[in-house]
Amino acid sequence: MNSTPDWLQRGLWSENPVLVHLLGLCPLLAVTNTVVNALLLGAATLVVLIATNLVVSLLRGALVRSVRIPLFVLIIASFVTSVDLLIDAWFHDLHVLIGLFIPLIVTNCTILAQAETVASRHSPGAALASAVGTGAGFLGVLIALGAIRELLGRGTLFSGFEMLLGERGSVLEINLPFDGALAFVLAPGAFFGLAALLVLRNTMIARSARHTETTTES
């Protein structure tokens, strides 16, 4: 019924957690002021999502309805705590910047929704495909928003990658000949950027729908 490409496609596009369900907005808006921050938080969310979906799917035969939600939260919180510790140990400079938001991954409804609607009802393979699709969809929007805000807000792109990759990461930084508008670094810029992405997606869908209509009519 649901093939792997189908699961991936849903998470990335047709059921994208941010652009369609508007979930996980708190971390999304808070950390997307640069690409590197967005990348790290998006990757952390992806890892937690994959681990949670796999574990929940493997446990699905043993799950009891009345205690399933607390169990999901417990599983999610343990993975988030572990990821938080690992980031603190290996990417300490970035952890100082966005460490406040890593524990908030627990409250990202996307992960709980995936555990409840997909992982607890499907095989590990399908749960994994869905987690990869949804996590990548979330990560993609985060990076896009991070790029928009960093570009317009600071006039740089990919700055701070040395915190992720060591010294050689700094060669990635692109400096543009303008300083950027502070508003894009601050919270309003996050809303402008998200709105722009929503408009873009809805326009694309409207266009393709019109296209299908005309082709079926002709």
């Binding site: 446990l59 043993a62 309805r65 009345s66 399933r68 169990l71 343990s78 993975f79 510790l85 603190d88």
Partner: protein
Amino acid sequence: MATDQPSRIRSLLLVIGVSIGAAALITGTYEFSFERILANERARLIENLSSVINRRPDAPPDALEIDPDALPEDDYVRQVFAMLDSAGLNAWVYSAVAPSGYNGPIEFLAGVTPVGEIVRIRVIQHRETPGLGDAIEDEKSDWARQFDDTSLGNPAMWALESAGGTFDGLTGATVTPRAVIAAIEGVLQYHAVHAASLSNALEAQRQTEAMQGE
């Protein structure tokens, strides 16, 4: 997903099982990463403290916090660090607070040489007005650099120029610079009174450490 009577026992076993698994996962990750985390935090602290002292070339400084229980009570000084390198005591770093900033306390670090001269001060946290009082930050202006190489008695008068002293104020902000100047003078007075006992405390701590190291 049954809901009948035996499911209570099943729920219990399930919750216990998952909890044990979760605890094992977190304990394992913690054991695996805590040494690195501690080392990172220490490196960051030393980096921070070193920003207000003069490093001797080729002698990376180490920081030793004076036991807070051994510190005399003070209005300004909160923590004292001895910055040590291969040549011995390089400087003291005082982590201090100017309590009467315009919008609450202003936290700063002051590097002071053993003879009581300021190396540098750096404001690390404040809530002063953006565009006015926030010029005390290194990122915003050079204002904080006018305290380099000052000491008690140099200048004779620790006050703003407008109050008969020698320090520059900030346009549109009077309370902020006054609070910072008073607090730096307070740190220097603390140093003048307590430097000897701090040295003793440092010596005692180093001896204890050396004994533990053996």
